[in-house]
Every structure is written in structure tokens, then in C-alpha cells.
Symmetry: C2
Subunit: 489 residues, 2 copies
């Protein structure tokens, strides 16, 4: 792996100047062209300590247009970061389309260090690397030019570099005790890194290992690698993208949805008693979230007028408003459009101790976006895995994920639509679009069935709610949340 | 103050239903109309404990369209919030134009509680309230419909309400020990609140005190107050806003800028020695920020080609990249445009221990926006105070604020422009606009002089940098930062 990066390559000053001038001019041209496309640029700078990762990152920004390019170096997590899934900090700093970031110290740092110090086994390390691959694959599919640079130094060169840095008062602080400690384990790190690089060099996002001994060679090679990736993306950006086509699957005659017993109901007295009981349970249990270092996410899906809003209102009335947010998912903002589709949900993730309720969710990707043709078939097809990976991350970081599908019959929906038309303060809830969507009832049901089949997991199960009777539905939602909290806390 | 809210007003059920139906219909209509304007809606719900602030907030969202309206209730600060100015949490959750938020527990809570418990004196309390007024005035000037509702209960009614809540297992958790403790000091709180309400009932944003004993009366009164404010804003939104006019002030013949000695220079050897020395100081000192719980902000202004980028590069090369971000201020994103102009800077504020370097700053308001007519004269005129208030908040929360104005002569600028035209990788830096701005040299100088005169404060002083010689400028910037850090840490 690293043998080719210990050859002693250098670039002389005479060769450097003209090559650099050409390179800078081309990089700037490419960067400005990229700004007009849907692509973002992400340069990962990894490698051994002393290889000059930060120095390289700043040099690249210096060569290019700093207005569209950000250096992100990740130190210790803040409390807010530590109280969310590990990747939250990367989502949080992800650049918008047309912009770029150079990341120093990324999602590779923790798995590699932990494995090198033998804090984790091979299995856990591989799982972490697989998560990195999945994340990167998603990023490239969502329009990211991903350039992964690995700066390498031989053991001898590393030691020499540390000593040089320590000799200069301006740079002495850059070499820490920990650096020397890791340097003593050079061979162990080398082995772990080699394996990690091999495993995560995918066709979409390969690593480029760069010999970092000579600064001029290092910087030029990095810049030229970056330029090639940009030009490649620009060539791809020129190819016309076929307009996505709506997908209108046929609903199966028998499914988990048709099997629901929609006659389930509660009379008013029964409802009030049961609702009060479940509200009390949710109220008590959610107060324990903080102490147990857990968070709660409830996502609601269902056809229009299925009663999502009403169920959500009963649920939140039991939760301390200071710890609870409701996110109503409507059209994305421009900034949201300029990021991968999951970004807007990552943005709203609750901290530990808190709850976020989503009125419509990330499943829009495989429901409305699929049926209406808002994204390509390839996009919604890959989404099942991405959504699952998202929920797995949530769950691992301590979030309790509850997902509800509220089901009513087509007739009941019609009745509720008519009621909305007739009640002045409900009229805003019913639009032309709702009537149009009714025409696609079957396609939406079919998409829902496929979604329910593919995305129910032990850590993020779906609860199907018979919602023909609102009383029944609300009590079932609250009871499910309470049961789940009880089990998890 | 509160006598009119202890009369025992109620609304009977028979009267309630039709009034509510009309109100809901009108509120929805107004909300949807507002969504098409540049206004955002902010409803502050304050008042005594037990008055039902959260309940009211959720009722209002229930009545209106939840997709454009968010309840924000503020509990204890997260660490990231605690490491930034107090108002950061409010900026962070400020809704965009066309949207709204109902805030429970706002910037009034801390000053009132601290004063009621006699933790602060009258002076500190008044200063905090004045800050609230300034913030609200800025919000209304920046297109905010601000509705301030104060829910009042008499001492007797409060006690009764607490007992009712405690009797019901679903709501018992809502009454805390602290609530009873505060209730015992009812008279003291009443006095402090009355003074706070009187002081902060401004013409732009008056308080409406609502008797909260009867829920129907409370909710209807709140809703009707809100509706009136919305309709008032909609009427204002209809009036045509005159297009802002560029302001091209004449430059004074003698000014702080003309008096700068632009012949100051350093030869290369001297430069390298001095630069290394100052870099080392900055490197060492910035490492202490974390331990001393301080943060650093450096803002750079100056005409085009004054050398801001070069000075910033030398500065950041001395700071640990993990703790340092550079924000290059270019055109705002759509989300930024949909917020008050300072929002984009609040977004990037460093946590304690960190540094943010702004390449162009919030002073754009009184420079480019003034000269080019991007905002109305009233807007940039009020900005001097707003910018000062912003920096005062930063400073009070532990941020060390350094501001630099880099000055070159018109001839030197021309020389640098020509050099940019001739160097391939510098060409992107020079645009038609730069040449146009050169034509307004005098106006920009005049605007700068006024800015420098009006916004230099002990906590956020301007440093004028003779930038004709790049060496001199860079060393002066670094030395200023180092001196300031040394003094403050």
C-alpha cells in the first residue's frame, strides 16, 4: 500500500513555479465552473501525523477561491455533537451545491485510532468503515465530488518532521505528546491504515496516497488529483440528465394494509379514560429521557386526512414543551434543496433528553417523490438502504425511533375531504393537490406497502394504526410510544 | 398594571364556539397572506407560572397552519448555547420570512427571575431589559410582526391552578418545587414583572396583559390580539416600499484615513523575522482561549485588493485549524436573505476556545449596502447602533473582538488590479464590479470614515492598517491580535 509513497519523490523549485501557475489557473476555472452545477466538492485529507494535513488544506484554499471553499478540521466533540449521532458534525458542516470543503480529520479518524490502540476489534472497525463507505456512496449519488487524499510519511521521515516542527517556536505546539505516542506505534498504525484504505477505496471514491516528504511534490500532486476529479465531474455535469418519471405501482390485492381491521373504535368515555392514562405514562416516561441519556423521535406517515395532526397534538401535550419540537415537513428551503435529501432531517435531530416529532418524514423519498416523479427511480430505489442506515445511526446513538403509518379507507378520506371543504377553518387543509393525489390512491398504497415491507427494523419498527376512528388511533399512538419508552428506558 | 387582569372575565361555551370558528378562519387567512410577504411572525408568551403559557402556544398552533408555525420553548442552555452570547439561542431559532414562531420563556425570563430573587440590582435588570428592547426594535425594523402576550393570574388563582394541576396525574409533573417557591414570592414577582412590562411596552412592540383564569377567555383574547397584529402588518405590507437609493457621501479632505502614513514598510528580512515572532505569539496565546473561556473574532474590511486575504492567511496559519474558521462574506443564501441581516454572522459565532475570522463583515451594511443602495437610508442609519449592540453582546459573553481596516491608496489599488489582470490565477479576483467600485472610491472612503468614527469602542476597537506595503500590514495585524490577546487573557 505505502511502498510507492516512500520513494523519495521531490519537485524542484524550477519545475514547481510554472506547474503551479498552470495548476492554479485550471483549478480556479474548474472551481468556478463547478459552482454553476449541482455538485459540491469534498476533499478529505487523511494521513499520518506530521504529513502536513492542515498545511495542505490551507494551501489548497489559498490556491483556489476562498469564497466558495471552507476548511473544516474536527477536534473534540462539543456537548451538542456528543449528544447526537457521530456523523451529525459532518452533516452539519456539509457544503451546499456549488460550494466546497476541505476536511481535515474525518470519519476515518476514530475507527482507525481505536483499532490501532486495540480498543476495538476488527469487526467493529470494519463496521465503522462500512458506514463510511455507505455515507460516501450516498454523498456521491447526491452530487458530491469526493476526493480522498492520504498523506504518507515513512517512520523515519515522520520522526524527522516532528523534530523540525519542535525546533521552531512557531510550530512547536503542533507536536503533542500524543503525536509522539502514536509515532512509537508507527507500524501498528501503518497496518491498520493500510487495511482501512484498501477497504474504503471504492470505485466512486478511491483514496490517493501521496508521499508527503517533499512539500512541493505533496501539494502539486494533491492539487493535480483534485483538478482531475473536478474536470471529471464537470464532464459528467454536461451530460443531460433524463427527467425523472413518476412511478405508479399497482397495489397488491392483499397486503398488510388491506388486512388492518378499520372497524376498531373507542367510544368517547372509554377514549377519554384511556387517553388520560396513556398521556400520563408518556409524560412520566419522557421525563426520564435526560437521565437515561436517550432521545425520542416519532415519525408520522399516512394518506392525506389520516389524522396525523390530531394524533401529534395529543402526543406532544404530554411532553414538556422545552424538550419537544414538532417538524412539519413541507417544501424544502433553498439551502435544503442544495444538500442531500436527508440533510433537513439531520438538521432537526433532538439532543439527548429531547424529542422531535416529524409530521411526514424522510420516507417522502419512497412515497411522494417516487409516485410523483420528483426523483429518479435509481434515487428512490437506493433510499430504502439509506433510510435504514440513517435510523440505525440514530438508534445506536441512543435515539428511540417510533414510526407510525395511519391508515384510513378511501371512502373515509373522501368524507373527511368533504368535511374540510365545508368547515371554514379547515378549508386551507384541502387543496387541488389533495384531490389529485386521491386519484393515485392505489399507487400511494402500493408504495406504502413496499416501504413498510422494506424498512421495518427491530430498532425502528413501523406501527400500523387503524385510523378510521380517531379515538382508537390516538390512544394506539400514545400507548405504542409509552410501551416503547418503558421497554427502552 | 395587573388590576384589569383580575376582574374575573370569562367567555361562556355558547359564545365561545361561534367566536372561535370566525377567529380560526380569519387567523388562517391572515397567516397564509403573511406567508407571501417579507414579514415573519413572532409571538412571545410570557406571564406567571400556571397561567398556561405552553397550553396557549399549542392552542394557537392548533388553530393555525402548523406547517408555518413552530413552538419554541427554552429550557436550560446546552453547552454550545452557554458558550455563546445569551441571545444566540433566539437567533438560532428565529423563523424565516413568511413563517412564524411562538416563543415560551424568552429573553425576559432571566432578567425578571434574577431581579425577583434579588440576584441582580435594578441597574443590571434595566440594562437587560434595554437589550431586549433593542433586539425587538431591530426585529420589527427587519420585518417582524411581534406580538407580546402576558398571561396573568392573581395570587389566589395561581394557587388554585397549581392544586388542580397536581391533582391530575397527567399534569402533576408540570408543577415543580420551584413553581411553589416562586409562588410564595408572588408579590415580589408581581412588582418586578409590572416594572418590566411597563419598561418594555414600546410603541413598536407593546405587551398585552391577558387575564388567564378562564381558558376560553384567555385563548380567544390571545387569538384576537394576534389577528389584529397580523392584519395590521398585512395592511402595511400592501403599501409600496420606495426603492432604496444609493448614498454617495463626499469624503472629508482630512480624515483618519488620509492621515495614515502609507509609506510604512518592512524589508523582506525584517519582515520574516517579525512575522515569525508574532506568529509564535498568536500561536501560543490562542491556545489559552479554551482554558480562559474566551473566544476570538477578527473582522477584516478595506477596499478591494487591500490585502485582506493575505493578512488572513498569515493569521490563521498560527491558529490550530480545529479551533478556527474563516468566513468569506459573499452574497447571502436565500435562508440568510429571509432573516435579519445580522443572522448570517450569528450563525458562525465561535464557541468559547474557538476563533472565527470574517473576510468582510457585518459592516457591509454601512459600506457596500449604503453606497450601492442595497438597503434604505433608514436601515443603514440605524445599523451603527445595532452593530455596536452586537459587538457589546459578543464582548460580554467572552469574545475578544478585533476589527481591521486595511488602507491603500487609489494608485496602489490600480496597480494591484492591473497585476491581477495579468496573472492568470489572479484574474478571477478582478471583476467588472471592482472597476465600477473604483469609480466610487470617494464615496467608499467617506462611508468608511463615518463607520470608523461611529463604531470604535473599547470592547471592539478598530485598528487602521497601513496596507500599501503588504509586509508591514501583515505584521501589524498579527501584532495587534497578539497584543490584544495578551491583554485580555
Amino acid at each position: 500500500m505505502f511502498e510507492s509513497a516512500e520513494i523519495g519523490r521531490t519537485v524542484g523549485k524550477k519545475e514547481y513555479e510554472p506547474r503551479l501557475e498552470r495548476l492554479r489557473t485550471d483549478l480556479l476555472k474548474a472551481q468556478h465552473a463547478l459552482a454553476l452545477t449541482r455538485f459540491r466538492l469534498l476533499v478529505l485529507v487523511g494521513g499520518v501525523e506530521g504529513g502536513g494535513k492542515t498545511e495542505l488544506a490551507r494551501t489548497l484554499v489559498d490556491w483556489m477561491d476562498a469564497r466558495g471553499l471552507q476548511v473544516e478540521a474536527y477536534g473534540d466533540s462539543s456537548d451538542e455533537e456528543a449528544e447526537r449521532p457521530e456523523y451529525w458534525r459532518y452533516w452539519r458542516t456539509l457544503p451546499a451545491s456549488g460550494r466546497g470543503a476541505i476536511l481535515v480529520g474525518t470519519w476515518y479518524t476514530r475507527p482507525i485510532v481505536a483499532r490501532a490502540l486495540k480498543e476495538t476489534g476488527q469487526g467493529a472497525c470494519d463496521a465503522a468503515l462500512d458506514r463510511a463507505i455507505a455515507f460516501e456512496t450516498m454523498l456521491t449519488r447526491e452530487g458530491t465530488v469526493l476526493v480522498k487524499l492520504w498523506l504518507h510519511l515513512s517512520r523515519k521521515e515522520q520522526k524527522k518532521r516532528f523534530k523540525e516542527l519542535e525546533a521552531d517556536p512557531v510550530t512547536a505546539w503542533r507536536v503533542s505528546k500524543r503525536d509522539w505516542e502514536y509515532a512509537r506505534r508507527y507500524d501498528r498504525f501503518r497496518k491498520v491504515c493500510a487495511r482501512a484504505i484498501a477497504r474504503t477505496s471504492t470505485a466512486d471514491a478511491p483514496w490517493t496516497v501521496i508521499e508527503a516528504t517533499d512539500r512541493r511534490y505533496r501539494d502539486l500532486t494533491a492539487g493535480e488529483t483534485l483538478l482531475a476529479a473536478l474536470n471529471d465531474a464537470l464532464a459528467r455535469a454536461k451530460k443531460p440528465v433524463p427527467a425523472p418519471v413518476p412511478d405508479r405501482p399497482k397495489a397488491p390485492r392483499v397486503s398488510v394494509l388491506t388486512r388492518l381491521d378499520l372497524t376498531r373504535a373507542l367510544d368517547k368515555r372509554d377514549y377519554e379514560k384511556k387517553l388520560a392514562k396513556q398521556e400520563a405514562r408518556v409524560a412520566l416516561l419522557t421525563r426520564d429521557l435526560r437521565r437515561k441519556r436517550r432521545a425520542l423521535i416519532c415519525g408520522f406517515e399516512g394518506v392525506d386526512a389520516a389524522g396525523k395532526g390530531g394524533a401529534i397534538r395529543r402526543l406532544i401535550s404530554a411532553i414538556d414543551a422545552r424538550n419537544c419540537r414538532v417538524m412539519s415537513v413541507a417544501a424544502p428551503t433553498d439551502e435544503e434543496r442544495a444538500h442531500p435529501y436527508l440533510w433537513r432531517f439531520w438538521r432537526q435531530l433532538p439532543r439527548l433528553g429531547h424529542a422531535t416529532i416529524y409530521d411526514r418524514t424522510w420516507y417522502g423519498r419512497v412515497l411522494v417523490e417516487r409516485v410523483e416523479g420528483f426523483c429518479a427511480a435509481a434515487d428512490w430505489r437506493r433510499a430504502y438502504n439509506e433510510l435504514d442506515a440513517f435510523e440505525e445511526e440514530l438508534s445506536e446513538s441512543g435515539v428511540i425511533v417510533c414510526k407510525f403509518w395511519l391508515q384510513i379507507s378511501a371512502d373515509e378520506q373522501l368524507k373527511r375531504f368533504k368535511d374540510r371543504v365545508q368547515t371554514p377553518f379547515k378549508q386551507y387543509k384541502i387543496t387541488e393537490e389533495d384531490w389529485r393525489n386521491r386519484g393515485k390512491w392505489e399507487a400511494y398504497q402500493a408504495a406504502a406497502v413496499e416501504m413498510l415491507d422494506k424498512t421495518g427494523t427491530p430498532y425502528a419498527p413501523w406501527t400500523l394504526v387503524e385510523a378510521q376512528d380517531k379515538h382508537w388511533a390516538r390512544v394506539k399512538v400514545l400507548k405504542t410510544v409509552a410501551d416503547r419508552l418503558e421497554k427502552e428506558l
